[in-house]
Each structure stands twice: as C-alpha cells, then as structure tokens.
Amino acid sequence: MTVMAARLGPTGWARWAWRQLTSMRTALFLLMLLAVAAVPGSIFPQRSIDAGRVANYLVSHPTIGPWLDRLSFFDVFSSPWFSAIYLLLVISLLGCIIPRMRTHVSALRSLPPRAPARLDRLAAYAQIVVDGDVETALAAAETVLKKRRFRVARHDAGSVSAENGYLRESGNLLFHVGLCAIIVGVAVGHLFGWRGDIIVPVGSGFSSTMTSYDTMNPGPLVNTSKLPPFQLTLDALTVTFNQQAGGQLGVPRQFSASITTVDKPGDAPVKQPLDLNAPVGIDGSNVYLLGNGYAPVITVRDASGKVLYQEATPFLPQDNSYRSVGTVKVTSAVPEQLGLSGLFLPTADPRAGAEPVSIFPGPDNPELILAVYRGTLFPGDLPQSVYTLNTSQMSPVAGADGKPLVLRLTPGQRVTLPNGLGSVSFDKVLRWGGLSVRHDPGKQVTFGAAVLTILALLATLLVRRRRLFVRAVELPEDPAEGAASAQADWSGPAGRRTVVRIGGISRTTDPALNALVASICDELTERNRPA
C-alpha cells in the first residue's frame, strides 16, 4: 500500500503556517525567545540609553565591536530581530484570541448545556433526599444556584443545568487585549512623543524651541515647529552630600530646585519648586530635574582688558566626586582663536603635588585646571561637542618654561597669558541643573492598558469556570426503601420524597469543587427543613 502525501496548494500552506503560528506551542516558544533576546540589551551598552558608552565600547573592542554593531547589539530593542519576535508574538496572540473571543461571545449568549445522564461520573458528586416532589426540589436548586450567581437553564422537567465563572475567559481575553493595547500606547508615545534635554546654570533659563535644547529627540511624526512655547528659569538649586567620613562619604543627600515658568509669552510668571520624583507639568509636557553639576564662571579678556568671553560654563561630572570636564571656546579672540580645555575639581586634593582628582563632590576647595590652545576652533565648520576641543588645527600655548601651559585657578584668581594673549579669570562657581522636558501622548493609553491587564489577570487566575448539574427523581412511597436506597437520614412523616443528585465539573483543577457541591447540598437540606 502506498501512502500519498497530501498536496498543499498555496492556500493550504498559508493555512498551515497560520495554524503553526497561532498554536500555543509557537506562542510559548516566541515568548521564551523574547525573554532571551532581551538579555543582550542588559549586557551591552545601548545607544538609546547612553550613546557615549557605546562609542567607548567600540573604541575598546575594535574587533568584535563593529560586528556586534552590525547585528544591532547596541540597539537591541529597535533591532530587526527583536522587533520580528515581538511582532510575530503579537500576531500569534491575536490569531489565538480573536477566534476565542467569538467562541466566548457565543458562550456568553448561550445557556448551560443539558445535564449528562450519569452525574456520579463527574469530578464532584453528591446526593441528598428532600421532602416534596421533583418540581419543588428543582425550583429550590434553581434558587440556590441563582443566588450563587450561576446562570441556570431547565432543558427538561427532571434537571437543572448551571454554569458560572465566565469572567475567567473574559479576563483571559482582556489580559491579552491589554498587552496589545500597551504596545499601541508605546507606539503612540514613540511616534508622537519628544524629549529635549538641557543644561541650565543657576540664574539662567531657556525658551522651549527645537533649537534651544542641547539634545532634542522628536518622534517621527512630531511637528517640531509647534512645541509648546514656554519659558523656564532655574532660580536656585540645592544639592548636598553626606559629609560624614566612612562608606557613605559624598553620597547625595538632597537635590531640589526652584524654577520660574511662563506658559506662553505674555502669561504671568509662576514660581514653583522642582524636585526629584515631582516633575512640573507645563502645557502638556513635563519638566524633570535629572542631573546636576558645576558651571564655573570664566572670563577671558584680550591684552587691552576687553572682555571676549564671560559665561557660566557647564562642566560635565565624570565620577561620583564630580571631577568634571569642559571647554571654553573664545571665537572672538584675534589674531587666532583661543580654546581652553580641562578639569573642574569641586574639592581638589589640598596636598601639594597631588593628582588632579576631586575628593568630595561638594564645592569645598574648587579648582580649575585648564590647558590653553590657539588656532582654529571649528575646522571645516563642522559641528562639535561643547565639552571637547577639536585641537587638530590648534597648537598648545607654551608657558615660560617652554612646556605647554597649564592654568590652575581658584575662585577669584586671574592669570595673564604669555605673548600678549590676554588673561583668564575664574570668577566664581555656580551649579547647573540638568533638565529634561518630555511629552508622551501615549502614556495614558499605556497606563490604562496596564491597569486593565492587572485586573484581567486577577480575574482569569482567581475565578473558576464551573458547571453544575442537578437531577431530581421522586422516590417510591415506601419510606424504608427510599431511605435505604438514598442512604439518607430521612426520618420525617410519610410524604413525597425526592432524591436530588448534584454533579459538578470545572475547566481546571479545582480542589474547592467538592466543597461547593457539599455546601449546595447543605443549603438545599436547610431550605427543605420545615419552619
């Protein structure tokens, strides 16, 4: 006998693929794959979190780095493979729940099925004998079941069918719908949301426009010309660190700011606090206080004493003791432009000849250490970071000893540069606050979906779907025979008696089902007792 393999046409194959994709086995596999695929995102630095660390990684791993980059290991969560897994998972999930929704809707509309003939074969079973006829017994059973919020049906004169716990399946479906809605919320936030980060020295401010931010990340569908036009001034910033010697020395203790905002040009300014864990909402966006550092006020004068540069210049902290790096770019210096680059130490090690490190993050012994360069600051007019100097077309200025000049300045100090280049003074130290302005129109959707997901999860895990069936048969008139056959302790006056049999099944393992059947029996017996 030969076995012919069934031939599948394109439709057949498509149907086969769809069935494979929407099977529980595949969904489970994709879920586990998603968990595994997320792991590299925690091991390798991610561009979306810290592009600087990615750049450092590429420099220190010249062989494997570019390969990892090609395989999107630095952008795991927007990589083709991660996206493919979660998109397939969503499709698989929808393919699974949409047919189930149809089934569930029709189950919600239909009556519980007919009672099987042999109830004693069900998972839970009990029987009792009550006074009265079949109709009285079944009516009582119906009342008891309805009181326990069962949906009840009478398919024939001798039985009652009941079902409850539809919420289990509703919850299950809503849970999965909620997960999809979370993804929708995330997508909306990604497409229509934006974030702008800016470093603001105390006493300064900014107007929210596309170009005023240090970095601006708009979503693909954001109209960047229509950002909310608010203004913000950083009035004060309080930062304190633990002063006690020991393991906790220098750990941050307090970090709060006070700001003045103007919602729209012409509005009255509002003074308000801006704290960690307490963003300030302005015109549909939120302002967060995320970072802080020092901005030494540096003045550069030419030989005649004319001020060429005078600014609170933010330096970026490099470690927990706020050793910070920064630059001063004096574009107006003649005949050549001047560039200063170096370190700010809030608490320089006071010992003579010490390394240029900071030993405490608070400004206890501030020192500015700067190298001086002359030449062209922006070769080729290419954009460059505010915090680094491109010295490819600059040369270090030599000191009296012929070595490259290094300035070491404390607040109030002024140094004259050699060769009539002018002077540099370190006037005072201000702090800067790192502010982040975020707009995410999808977050309400995500939040609502997350709450729905939790509630649905509780419903689907805690509610049990149960079917109960009751059959009643009237006993023959002889009480002795009836009592014996029903094994009941019936001892009332002669009358009509009925055996009530109750059987129950549950969709899942249900240790409490027996107890439920027993408690319904008890209640029926109780009701049957003459008042």
Binding site: I49, R195, V251, L457
Partner: protein, 341 residues
C-alpha cells in the same frame, strides 16, 4: 536611642536570627532523616509502645482520593507497615524534631522581623533601600510566609527547603551586601518605594516558597516514576500531583505580584526619570522574569505539557530572579544602582 545604637541592635537581632535558623535547619534535617519508613526492627520497637503512635494525617491525605496519581511506592510501603506503625504517621523522633524545627523557625522569624523593624526605626524609612536591606526583608517575608503556612499545611518537611535558602541569603546579605544604616538617596525618597519595592519583596518571597515546593515536587515526581528502591523521606511527602498544585498556586501569587511590581515600577520611573520604560538593565531583567513566569503559567495551563516540564520553566524563572538581584545590581550599569556597595 540614637540611630546608630538602634542599627547595631538590628544587626545583633539579625545575627541571632541566623544562629537560630542554623539550629532550625539542623532540626529539619534530622526530621527528614527520621521520616524514612521504619525498618522491621523499629516496627517491633514501635509495637511495644502503641500509645506513642497513632493520631491522624488527614491534613495530608484529604485530597488523595481525587488525584490521578498512580499507586505510588509510598502507598505500598505504608500499606505494608500499616499494621504496626498506624499508616503514615511519622515516628516520634521525627515529630519531635519537626516541632523543634518549627519552634526554632518561629523564634528566628521573630528575631529577623525585629531586626528589619529596628533597621526601619533607625533609618526612619522603609528598611529596603539597598541590596542588604532588600535581601534581609525578602528573607524575612519568606520566613513569615513559611511560618504561617507550615502550621496549616503540615509543611514540616518543607522546613529544610526554606530555611536553607533563607540562611544562605542572610549570610550573603551580612557579608557581601552589607552597608551601614543611612539615609535614602534623594531619588528613592518617594512613597513609590513603599509600593513598588514592598510588592517586589512579596513577589520574590512567593517565588522562593514556590521554588522550595517546586524542588520537592520534582524530587517526589521523579521518585513516583521509579520502581521502589530504597527507603527515603520522599515517601512521607504529599503526592506529586498535590504538590504540583501547590507549586502552581504559589507561583501564581508570585506572578500576580510581579506583574504589579513591574507596572508600579513603570509608574515610578515615569515620575522619577521622565519615562516609564527605558530598557534599563533592571527593567530588562524584570521583563525577562515576567516572560519566563508567564511562559510557566501558559505551559501549565496547556494540555500536552507535562507539569514537570512546566516546573523546570519556573526554576529558570527563579534563576532570572537571582540574576536580576545579584548580578544586575552589582555588575550592570543602569539607573537602578542602589546596591550601596
């Protein structure tokens, strides 16, 4: 009393708890050793003292009739010894050791709870702001959970599986993770610390209890699959089917709490960092743990998957919980850098 004194009392209570847990562990180990079915000689011994045996084991046997478990080695063994030893009742020695173990666990749990409370008073905040405090609080939650459930479910046999990991956690906490009492970092000062981290602690505690039960279940399941070989304490444990249901229920509680932890963490992140989800390493691993346990829940609910295989998935999930705590906090760069190490 000044905070430093309170914190030193807290540490004293912690070390005392560890000492008592160590004795509890010894008692539970002895209990398991004494649980194995009695030998012929011991049977004769027991027959002479009939008053010492007897009683009821209904707590463990209530549901045996409804399970689809095959006639297990345990049942055969108990049937053969039923005449003298009165069914499955553990020996007097086993029972004595069990009650010592339970009593010592209660004492240690009380000491540990005292330690956590004192630390909270010393620092005037919820005492779970760094790794040391989190580990201690989670160990405390596990001990309380076990102490409460052990009495009701007759879980003396589980003692070793619970007290062992608790002691290990406390040992690591006091050596590798220890930091002195201190104020919270400014970013952690939020009522969300109370919501997010408390629920995380409860979730981890549930997963840990489920792990202990899961390991016991796997051992019993393997034994039930074998032909009867030598006597083992496993024969005195509840049936595999019954254990498996408990494992599932406990993991289910953990999964619900973990889902809540994840959502509460996202809400706090939105307030603190400006974005509810940034794939910070801690978030990545919280997500990984969630996926693994979600996989377990589905595998368990799907016909065709052996419950044993599903339980292995839960064990992998627990391994991810450990990574999420011990590896992510210490070795990965992220925003959840609160180890204080």
């Amino acid at each position: 009393m000044n905070p430093t004194t309170l914190a030193s009392y807290s540490n004293l209570a912690l070390y005392s708890a560890m000492l008592v847990f160590a004795f509890a562990m010894l008692a539970f180990t002895g209990h398991l050793a004494a649980l194995r079915p009695v030998t012929r000689d011991e049977l004769k011994e027991l027959a002479r003292e009939p008053a010492l045996v007897g009683g009821s084991v209904s707590g463990q046997e209530g549901e045996a009739a409804t399970t689809d478990r095959p006639a297990s080695a345990r049942r055969e063994a108990s049937d053969s010894s039923a005449t003298a030893a009165g069914g499955l009742e553990p020996s007097l020695r086993a029972r004595k050791l069990a009650s010592s173990g339970i009593a010592l666990t209660w004492l240690a749990t009380a000491l540990l709870t005292g330690s956590v409370v004192l630390r909270g008073v010393a620092t005037s905040r919820p005492p779970w702001g760094n790794m040391f405090e989190f580990a201690t609080a989670a160990a405390c939650a596990v001990s309380i959970g076990y102490s409460v459930l052990a009495k009701r479910n007759r879980w003396e046999w589980l003692g070793l599986f619970v007290v062992g990991p608790v002691l290990l956690t406390l040992g690591l906490a006091t050596t590798a993770f220890y930091v002195d009492d201190a104020e919270l970092m400014p970013i952690l000062r939020s009522y969300w610390l109370l919501i997010h981290v408390t629920v995380a602690i409860l979730a981890v505690a549930s997963f840990t209890l489920a792990l202990a039960l899961g390991v016991a279940y796997l051992l019993v399941a393997r034994r039930e699959g074998q032909e009867h070989k030598t006597a083992s304490f496993l024969d005195a444990l509840p049936s595999a089917a019954r254990l498996e249901r408990t494992v599932y229920a406990t993991n289910m509680v953990g999964f619900i709490l973990w889902t809540f932890t994840l959502v509460a963490g996202a809400i706090w992140a939105q307030k603190a960092w400006g974005s509810y989800w940034t794939w910070d390493p801690k978030e990545v691993w919280t997500f990984v743990v969630w996926c693994l346990y979600a996989g377990y829940m589905h595998a368990r609910a799907t016909a065709g998957w052996e419950p044993r295989k599903a339980t292995y998935l839960a064990l992998i999930g627990y391994a991810a919980v450990i990574v999420n705590f011990a590896v992510v906090n210490v070795f990965f760069v992220g925003q959840h850098s609160y180890a204080g190490l």
